[in-house]
Symmetry: C2
Subunit: 207 residues, 2 copies
């Protein structure tokens, strides 16, 4: 939302297969004033991916220089490629009153919490591990061993969910999107965020 | 919401004329699983008021005995009559998983906070003092001096709003009801409230 007040930073994590990407996409579609924090990555663009839309693509050399310069709120190395969330982009959007959605892993969320303590952290849970396993199988991408590994990783990540402010159980995608929407609206009404409004109300604009 | 988890206690306050009663009524109509914390009062029923629906009507003697026995989460004396929120009713509903809405003044809210720290406190604000004054005048109930007094009381109350978790600006009633709804939904997703769900997910119901 473009307002006088600072925007909110929503940090979303989930185990693989919990439906995070679908939820985030639907949520962003409903809220064209919420900006997606586009990751910077060193991996090559895949078919159909656009620079500046899906990712900011960059070289490893540039990425590592950015790391050195503290350019990232968080970054991670996955399969020998780097992924990071630009500190400047996020903080500028927030300062200008836009809400921002960042989609990061549990370690990334923890790094962001240290740098932006007032960020709002949301963990998306599958309704059960059984459903999660089924979803991973339905993708048809992974072999049995990989699925077992993903499930074990999922458990480790879910154990970190207590560090988040909210958990959303993704039983039905649309309901999960609605909950995310409610979290945004509720946090916009947080008293601490509205001190300016209250001060204005109490005296300055009352002639 | 009737669930395994404990219900939420929503505590709502507002200055006279901010639209609290209308918002609460609309909100309760939309959420038949949220129970209204019916006040106990010593004043006589007015035309159309039903015992056990609008208020629990009682004698001063009984009321004061209840006060002595710690029966109230909060109580207040207004124009020589007493009003109180039953501790037993509220805690029993919450224990049974119902959400409860209590409509109390700023002092009542502060008493409830001490007894039920996890209660969620919401302050409803008028869009401006000018609008508040107009609304009080439109009621046509009060003379000029009374309206001046109400406005001065409103300012005192609004100064207490920083003690609340959320503030809702009642510009349009339906939007204000939606925000209240979002606050309820978001708080149901609070991580602390969902520790049981997460534990179950992680192991116990996964065969």
């Amino acid at each position: 939302m473009k307002t006088e007040a600072k925007g909110l930073l929503l940090v979303v994590s989930a185990p693989s297969g919990a439906g995070k990407t679908t939820i985030c996409k639907k949520f962003l579609k409903k809220n064209d004033t919420v900006k997606y924090a586009i990751s910077t990555t060193t991996r090559l663009p895949r078919q159909g991916e656009q620079d500046g839309v899906d990712y900011h693509f960059t070289s490893k050399e540039t990425f590592l220089k950015m790391v050195e310069n503290g350019a990232f709120l968080e970054y991670a190395k996955v399969y020998n490629e780097f992924y990071g969330t630009s500190r400047k982009t996020v903080t500028e959007l927030i300062e200008h009153g836009y809400d921002v959605l960042a989609d990061v892993d549990t370690q990334g969320a923890s790094s962001i919490r240290k740098l932006i303590p007032e960020s709002i952290h949301i963990f998306i849970l599958p309704p059960s591990l059984k459903v999660l396993e089924q979803r991973l199988r339905d993708r048809g991408k992974d072999r049995d061993e990989v699925i077992k590994l993903r499930l074990s990783e999922a458990k480790t990540e879910i154990r970190q969910s207590y560090l988040y402010d909210y958990v959303i159980i993704n039983d039905k995608v649309d309901s999960a999107v609605d909950v995310l929407q409610s979290i945004l609206i509720a946090n916009r009404s947080d008293t601490n965020r509205n001190q300016g409004v209250i001060r204005t109300l109490l005296g300055e604009n009352n002639e």
